[in-house]
Symmetry: C2
Subunit: 338 residues, 2 copies
């Protein structure tokens, strides 16, 4: 159990280290924060904190830096999310309001997050699984070729080609379109499969094959690319990892290239409110010296996707968390409006 003052000391160490990027010593601490005690006392506290694994020395006779465990304690108990100021909020809203379509919303969100946090931003496209169908459109591009367009309530549009086993008449297509829409419009993706299961039976024998092709393509679209896409930005901010350069930056860039890794990363974050993964808490090895702050966002109350930032473990957690949360909130609003 750590005394109140020791927690204060830890907090001061984290704040100073984040600010200066240099190991912080006992003297500097007492000067910059009025802890009311002498450096010698602080030294004792630091020894105890080190003993417990919250801070460490890079070399003997250097100052201390927080460990992952130290940051964890800081985030959990010593810091509050720093809310955005009023002007900042307005700026966020204005910037996002200019978006013309979903791609644009995501692109703007990425830029915004990267700028606000000066870190690498990651934004997942609204997932399909938790979305609902707004409309399904079928277009005959050729006698035996149909384009399937799926529009979701999050504004996402997916299209697929369907090669039909037999030509399909315009009337049949219209019929199928109508019946399909009456069944699935407004429904959750997860519910769709059983809702359309018996649809082929209600058509003439000669059309059943075609109907089945269309349906199977639809179902594929629903599951296949689920949560698959995302957008990243602000990689130039990685160069501010000034310390040991190529060593840290390379694996991070590689991880960012691997969408699979990123999606898993966001996916792991359970807490819909806000998740912070610090250093080695990230399973992917290349990100062991970074922290990931992520949060869910969604058009309604419910989260349909995640967004977040990746930065050095030595980051301004309260500020970053504030920015991430604020952006998520406004993106949710935008999606709800569109």
């Amino acid at each position: 159990m750590l005394s109140e003052r020791r927690l204060q000391v830890l907090r001061a160490i984290v704040q100073d280290y984040v600010g200066t990027e240099e190991p912080v010593g006992s003297k500097a601490l007492t000067e910059r924060h009025n802890l009311g005690v002498s450096p010698a006392t602080v030294r004792n506290d630091m020894a105890a904190l080190e003993e417990e694994g919250y801070i460490a020395q890079p070399h003997t006779s250097a100052g201390r830096i927080p460990t992952d465990k130290g940051y964890r304690l800081f985030v959990d108990r010593l810091a509050d999310v720093k809310p955005m100021t009023q002007p900042e909020r307005r700026a966020i809203q204005n910037f996002l309001d200019g978006a013309v379509d979903l791609d644009d919303v995501v692109a703007r969100t990425v830029r915004l997050l990267a700028q606000l946090t000066r870190q690498v931003a990651v934004v997942q496209y609204p997932s399909l699984t938790r979305s609902a169908v707004r409309h399904v459109e079928l277009l005959a591009l050729a006698p035996a070729r149909v384009m399937l367009v799926l529009i979701t309530d999050t504004g996402r549009v997916e299209q697929r080609m369907v090669d039909c086993p037999a030509p399909i008449g315009e009337n049949t297509l219209a019929d199928l379109r109508a019946r399909l829409n009456s069944r699935v419009t407004g429904r959750r993706f997860t519910d769709v499969p059983q809702l359309v299961q018996d649809l082929p039976e209600s058509f003439e024998a000669e059309d059943r094959g075609t109907v089945a092709s269309v349906l199977s393509t639809l179902l594929e679209t629903l599951v296949e690319r689920t949560e698959e896409r995302l957008m990243i930005g602000g990689t130039a901010n990685l160069t501010r990892f000034t310390h040991d350069f190529p060593l840290t930056i390379q694996p991070v860039l590689e991880a960012l290239e691997e969408q699979v890794v990123l999606l898993k990363l966001l996916g792991e974050a359970q807490d819909p409110a806000m998740t912070v993964r610090i250093g080695h808490e990230n399973e992917y090895e290349g990100l062991n010296s970074t922290s990931v702050v992520s949060v869910g966002y969604g058009s309604g109350g419910e989260a349909v996707a995640k967004l977040g930032v990746v930065g050095p473990t030595r980051m301004d957690y309260p500020g970053t968390m504030g920015a991430v949360r604020a952006v998520a909130r406004y993106v949710g609003q935008i999606l709800a409006e569109s």
Copy 2:
């Protein structure tokens, strides 16, 4: 005018420097290439090449490295595009064949290019200006709200919301859809505006406002986001810029973030066959120590967009050019099929 042997020397210098990343001296040159002359002679040639500005010494008493001008000569007169091997071609084709839609084609192309060249890949989405309309779809999502979906012959799908001044009936909408398609299907984007100009007049007065809104949104879509999108990948390869690290990598990352810069970069490249911009030939300052190899690609014979790579001026030009050209060719094929 440079003698044949001096050109040989320049070629050897470029090849060695690209291989070793270290300034190359006269002795090493004679050992690795059988030029048939002694180091002393080569030294004289090098002095002449330096005089002409094709090579330079980083410091007195170090080897020589090619200048931008030297690379330019190398690319123009001393090297041939290195064709891909048969297995490589097959691999490219197989990899691209798996794509399910346009996004996927572009994404796969980026990955492929980055892997093949071990550099940063940039792929522009097929441009709208040179595309033709395959289909226009109108969906009533609410009484006075229409979704406009535009499908191009390059497989691109754009969608927009249209807020109508007045509710529009299902019949009117179907009518508009039919007339619109009969006029613009198969037509070039550039021709569309005048083709639809008089369309509102043929509708009842009460619907004209709505028709006009739909049309203006359509026209906006055609011009507004023209050539706007692109995808990049392989940024992790930047870490192989081992030399002077943060200095070179930062501006490059920044340039890559700025889509505008990249689009301008690709746009400048005039020659549809293949353009190589070396070092300071790039107008954007941050890319002064990189080279850009770009080429047009398209579904037919005509180029609808560009793709390319960005790498250090010290790159394997023949190999890179071969890879870029081959990928562009296969992407063109894939687009033509879909």
